[in-house]
Symmetry: C2
Subunit: 333 residues, 2 copies
DNA sequence: CTGAAAGCGCTAACAC
DNA sequence: GTGTTAGCGCTTTCAG
């Protein structure tokens, strides 16, 4: 069933059918009705390829993330997909992995699909330095379609970034930790992404302002695997921390397991704070205090920006959402 | 940059360019080289729409799941996407939600994208009765493209199902529970999906074969939310179970929290078994015994089947993967 | 308000 | 081996 068949059955030309499909105002209600009826009876749906060929668009947005199996990203993908659908957009998903090359390949592959917009999920797509060369491929992509970064920042035309103010909330939280008497705060992370670096800066600044020297041995980078973290901390008995600030809930969960194994009371003798307010944080016992990094809010901002952009409105290139600490039972303030 | 430009620059016809793009053997190495060079210099990429129009295929497979935010599905999507990519296929993702209508809409929407194959992830796409009317929309879809069900079963032409033998593994596990002396085993679930029903049947059969009457009050359906489960069990002090068989790790985690809150020792006084071998199961303390439902295996089977099908080989309509119990610390056998 | 016809960029059958 | 050409199904001028 194609447009010709419908045209014939309805006794009109294909141009008219096309107009009806696109709900053009230049068709009389009568013919519209008639054509619609024929289309329904034959449950005709326009061929997206042919349409795409003409319009060079397929109402599709490309979603790239390192790995959808990660809870934070899965949530973002779910939210974006769901809400974009409401605007008639479909999503092509591409999981890029974490390597630099992989990311480039992902972007160029998905661009070939003639998507209408590109969303890069997760901070690994931005360099620490917003003007870095490493990030040229994103600027290149932005020449073709608007690019939206979720929790990453790169400066450039047609690039729009929605970010959690990781620096601020980390600064605040670590400062509170210090005020509650903690002296040896472990910074536990699994990456050197843009946002991980923001967190690190917030951590360091909080120490600095409190006059506590930054102890390099208290910055620990380790894979985000609960038991691996536990075991490693068990092994590193030299650390002697009285608090843990983790950049992922999984890391915090590992730290908690360590503390319990060692018989260190939480939060009396050690405070633990996670990040992302994931299901893990409520699964822990005691439940993890954790920072909510406003994933949904960021997605919302991205979608809204995208739609405004379609209407040729100017939108901000950088928008922040405020993260906040969810106080539960692994902190005592 | 289109095929005409390249043809002109390379001094050949568009047909030759097309042949080069498709790596046809009927082009001399020399011209191939020359054309390739021109393509690279102008970094030309064929227009997928035009190509799609001609071939009526875009090397794309449609993925539908109720919700990617769910860990089990996110993993499946990640695995499928990753491996399909290796075969040159991209993925369109559609999260359908759980309603019956939603599922139908999802399928018909994604079918319009002229996908090459459809994968339905999660057992909510299959009815308990494989021949049910409720599932007609899947058969309808299968008339257009091969349909693959991950952990669901519907009988029909061009429909291929990869399943975990939930019935068997549940039967075995509950039987073990009984042999280890448990008498009041709570069946905890959050849905009436195909697989949930298989599990229920396994549970009932195990009781039956052990001569234990099935107590309806020990079948509990509740939303998969850790604290909600804990609170509800706390509230239902009449249950007095000595074991919990949960169809989701989240439910089991909730039951564990209940037990700890009540001061019931795990696994001495109560055994708890989860399902899916998710991150939650190792986050729990003590770690959850849980059934591994072989998500990756099922995905692998689906992909392999899909590729065999492309080669017109005949493949089985129904393939099982064996689930197994991961023994950890919430069981004592 | 409606129709005719020219693309959109590519593939594939058919000539040479 | 290579070129010519007729579609693929739709959108969009341009006429009427």
């Amino acid at each position: 069933m194609n447009i010709y068949d419908i045209a014939e059955l309805a006794g009109v030309s294909i141009a008219t059918v096309s107009r009806v499909v696109n709900d053009s105002p230049m068709v009389s209600e009568k013919t519209k009705q008639r054509v619609r009826k024929v289309m329904e009876e034959n449950n005709y749906t326009p061929n997206v390829f042919a349409r795409g060929l003409g319009l060079n668009s397929m109402k599709t947005v490309g979603l790239i993330c390192p790995d959808v199996a990660d809870a934070y990203m899965a949530k973002a993908v779910a939210y974006l997909e769901h809400n974009l659908k409401e605007y008639g957009y479909d999503c092509i998903l591409y999981c890029s992995g974490h390597g630099y090359e992989d990311r480039q390949i992902a972007v160029s592959t998905i661009l070939n699909k003639r998507i209408d917009a590109l969303v890069l999920i997760g901070s690994s797509y931005a360099d620490d330095d917003a003007d870095s060369e490493q990030v040229e491929y994103i600027r290149e992509a932005a020449k073709q379609v608007p690019v939206f970064l979720m929790n990453g920042y790169v400066r450039g035309d047609n690039i729009y970034c929605a970010l959690c103010n990781d620096y601020d909330i980390t600064f605040l939280t670590v400062s509170e930790l210090i005020q509650s008497g903690r002296k040896r705060i472990l910074f536990l992370s699994d990456s050197h992404s843009y946002s991980a670096n923001q967190k690190l800066r917030g951590y360091e600044e909080a120490l600095r302002q409190a006059g506590i020297p930054v102890d390099e041995s208290l910055k620990l980078y380790i894979q985000n695997d609960i038991n691996q973290v536990r075991d490693y901390l068990l092994f590193r008995s030299d650390l002697k921390m009285d608090a843990v600030f983790a950049t992922e809930d999984g890391l915090a969960a590992g730290a908690l397991k360590y503390a319990k194994k060692k018989g260190i009371s939480v939060p009396e003798s050690i405070s633990i704070i996670g990040y992302n307010n994931s299901e893990l944080s409520v699964c822990c016992d005691p439940e993890l205090s954790t920072i909510d990094s406003r994933g949904e809010r960021l997605c919302r901002i991205i979608i809204d920006s995208m739609m405004l952009l379609k209407q040729n409105k100017t939108i901000k290139q950088k928008v922040f959402a405020n993260g906040f600490l969810v106080r539960r039972y692994t902190t005592d303030f």
